[in-house]
């Protein structure tokens, strides 16, 4: 019934309609803003809502086609199958190129709708221009979707059953990874649109910064969560025991994150001090450009990656033209209009602004080396025909040394006052974090292997303690302890969120330090054999057959003893999917949040009665993703700040309140 209404044809029509609406959303409000016609300017919201609605219908049609096994749709036939569980039939919609492009457009339209809905307090012209820029971008990608990757293409004759999706993708973590990641990627379209609108308008002020920051925080939180989810997926699905491989696709998601993190911080300076305006506009353009390149360069076939979907030259050319238009156009506009933007407030190098500049310089340097390492191989193969690759050692040797000063400055930055800071009060407030970090440094030098892990452990503790010291100073922890919870509640949520995000970064760094001490062994074992890994004794009890919904599995049973105590029973398995004739390994993980026991079942050798096992002990592994989760939560907490919820731009009052926090009072009293 539903499939009769929401047919693929309706879907394609809705997609085409949304493309027309997006073009109108681009042209009319821009015209209205240029000619000062309030009616045309206000039409932006209507177009944004209509475009979103059309895309929701298109996406629903594709979901219905996938859920009802309509194999006459080529995309469904290629990626779904009757036997696939329902959850994966639905999430499989965005597990392929066409469907994920549609999802991408849908999220972009949702951003436009969100600006229309939440942006009522914006000046008319600015809102019209922002929504128009979002519409223009959306129109381009909807054209791409229609012309080169139509998800509603029919297959003739319709096959009786689909080919099914890659079994590696049949996993709950990956099912929700793309929407979250795309929300992050696409979310940066809003700061980008604000930047382009500001260039068109020729004005950037504190109100602009106040609008840009929450959108950046939201996109950044989604991107952080998305990257962490992807990294976690590769940890527990790929079964290599690692969490980050510096693969081009991973780098492509890291680059906008680095740039977006810089943007997040420089937008604070615009909001509070009206300085770094031109730089912030440039960062907003760069972040979205990197997001676009990240999602689409991989698909154009330029970056050779294990993740890439099947490539098609027509797609690549279209995408490159689109990227050139969006990125080149916005940069040209920047070059033309940026000098119009007036320079802002003055500050001393040693101040909050100065620390945020340092943050920006270092983050952009890390982004620059990651970009170099990612783009060097395709350029070399293009220019000199040399097939080369740049692996993890390059990134470890370049990005890590730049991250060390970044982390070192991270604890101090939030403790500095605006405009001009003094060393003495800062040192006094960093006494405790410094002492703890020094203690960890000493302990680590004794207990950990390698220089970087020791340094990372100390820096992680330093950053976490710095965040705690920041909150303790703001809340005035020396004063009456009975009113402490109330004072804590009265703190601006943005400050709490920032501290939480900083602490999250520290937790992640501690996780990285712990993972560097991981131990693993690969053994060929018989049932009954016992194997020692990192102080634990693993006993292989046996291997059995288990049938799944669309696969057959071989499941091993492993007992892990620490001393004589049974700590865990693990069941790593191998699944064979007859539909695709593929075998995947299912990793078994037992975690107590301090360390992971991680087991992979390899090949079996029935003639010898043995199986190959890979056994890992990964200390602090969950902290890596836990820290990222804290960062995303910090972003969410900061978004719930009263100033943002109320949303009215009231510069003078909110700024003076900000200045009167106890920490700054204490600093002023020195």
């Amino acid at each position: 019934m539903l499939s009769a209404i929401l047919s693929p044809e309706l879907g394609r029509f809705a997609l085409a309609l949304s493309c027309c609406l997006a073009s109108m959303q681009f042209a009319l409000p821009l015209l209205g803003a240029a000619r000062r016609r309030p009616g045309l300017m206000r039409s932006a919201s209507g177009f944004a809502a209509a475009q979103l609605l059309a895309l929701v219908v298109a996406f629903a049609c594709l979901v219905v086609a996938a859920a009802t096994d309509d194999f006459s749709v080529a995309n469904v036939a290629e990626n779904s199958a009757v036997l696939k569980p329902m959850l994966y039939k639905i999430t499989g919609v965005w597990g392929n190129h066409e469907g994920s492009t549609l999802l991408w457009c849908l999220i972009l339209a949702a951003c436009g709708g969100a600006v229309a809905a939440f942006g009522r307090g914006l000046p008319d012209a600015l809102r019209a221009r922002v929504i128009a820029v979002l519409g223009g971008t959306a129109a381009g990608f909807e054209l791409f979707c229609l012309f080169t990757s139509d998800p509603f293409d029919r297959a003739w004759p319709a096959p009786p059953d689909g080919q099914g999706m890659n079994p590696l993708l049949q996993d709950p973590g990956l099912a929700f990874h793309p929407p979250i990641l795309y929300a992050g990627y696409v979310g940066f379209a809003v700061p980008f649109a604000f930047a382009v609108a500001a260039l068109l308008e020729g004005r950037v002020d504190a109100a602009w910064g106040r609008w840009v920051r929450p959108w950046t925080v939201a996109a950044w939180s989604f991107l952080s969560a998305g990257i962490a989810l992807g990294s976690w997926w590769s940890y527990y699905v790929l079964g290599w025991g690692g969490y980050w491989f510096w693969d081009p696709v991973e780098n492509a998601s890291l680059l906008p994150w680095l740039c977006g993190t810089a943007l997040l911080h420089s937008a604070i300076v615009v909001e509070k001090r009206e300085a770094l305006k031109i730089w912030t506009v440039l960062l907003a353009i760069a972040t979205f450009s990197l997001s676009l390149s990240g999602t689409f360069l991989v698909r154009s076939g330029i970056l050779n990656s294990v993740h890439s979907f099947a490539n098609d030259p027509a797609r690549g050319v279209f995408i490159l033209m689109l990227l050139a238009l969006v990125i080149g156009g916005s940069l040209a506009l920047f070059a033309w209009r940026a000098p119009v933007l007036a320079a802002g407030g003055l500050f001393a190098p040693f101040s909050r602004e100065g620390s945020l500049v340092l943050n920006n310089v270092l983050l952009c340097s890390v982004a620059a080396v990651v970009l170099t390492g990612t783009m060097y191989p395709p350029f070399m193969s293009l220019l000199r025909g040399q097939a080369i690759s740049v692996g993890a050692p390059f990134f470890n040797e370049t990005a890590v040394p730049l991250a060390v000063p970044l982390l070192a400055a991270m604890a101090a930055g939030p403790l500095l006052p605006w405009k001009r800071a003094r060393m003495r009060p800062l040192l006094r407030r960093l006494r405790v974090p410094g002492a703890l970090a020094a203690a960890v440094l000493a302990l680590g030098a004794w207990g950990l292997q390698g220089v970087m892990p020791v340094l990372a452990a100390a820096l992680g503790v330093w950053v976490i303690c710095g965040a705690v010291a920041d909150i303790a100073g703001r809340v005035g922890w020396r004063r009456d302890p009975r009113t402490l919870p109330r004072r804590l509640r009265l703190l601006p949520r943005a400050a709490l969120g920032a501290a939480l995000a900083h602490a999250g970064a520290g937790v992640s760094v501690l996780g990285l330090a712990g993972m560097s001490q991981a131990s693993h062994r690969i053994v060929e074992a018989r049932p009954g054999d016992s194997i020692t890994v990192g102080g634990d004794r693993w006993v292989l009890r046996g291997v059995a057959d288990v049938a799944g919904p669309n696969y057959d599995a071989r499941v091993a049973t492993l007992d892990v003893y620490r001393g004589h105590r049974l700590v865990a029973v693990l069941h790593p398995s191998r699944r064979h999917f007859p539909a695709q004739d593929q075998t995947t390994g299912e990793v078994a993980i037992h975690t107590n949040l301090i360390s992971d026991l991680y087991a992979v079942l390899g090949d079996e050798h029935p003639e010898r009665g043995t199986v190959v096992l890979r056994l890992h002990r990964n200390p602090l592994a969950p902290w890596i993703w836990l820290g990222a989760l804290l960062m995303a939560l910090g972003g969410a907490l900061s978004l719930s700040d009263r100033r943002i919820r109320v949303g009215a731009p009231t510069p003078a009052r909110s700024r003076s309140r900000e200045l009167r926090t106890p920490a700054l009072e204490a600093a002023a009293a020195e």
Binding site: A387, I522, V523, R574, Q582, D603
Partner: protein, 185 residues
Amino acid sequence: MTRKSRRLWLVGACALGLGSATTLALAAFRQDIVFFMAPSQLLAAEPAAGRTIRLGGMVVAGSLHEEHAPDGTPIARFAVTDGQKAITVRYAGILPDLFREGQSVVALGSLAADRSFRASEVLAKHDETYMPKDVADALRRSGKWDPRFGPPPSAASWNNMTAAARPATDRPVAADAPGAPAGRS
């Protein structure tokens, strides 16, 4: 703090950041670039021992031998060919699920003194029809496959295309029963 001195200071900070990034990148490029080579190129060039190379080609059907070290670590030996030369690859670890004899593979490692290849990582992350771009290019260059004339030659014929002697095998070859996971007989 005047506007001028602030600008000077900002430019200095940026120059310092980008300068150190450039220095680090150049220093790392000197040693960390990994070249992709086909077996014939690798044997002709003979890079220094310890230099990391990405070796790509087709796994010679029937060349896979699995044994294990005294401590139980499984060791796989197989030959990789580009149709001109074949090289033996030694890999301590679990071969990926998609590893098949007669299909393309990429191995990361270095050339040992005995002119065999010590792999630290073996990648075969692709389905039966897909071939890594680097491997396809290498095969095209060696004249063994022109994609304009259809799919790559069948796995069985790779044995005859290489000069390397085919090691005796007592197991059915995975390539004879396409899709059967290697190593499970």
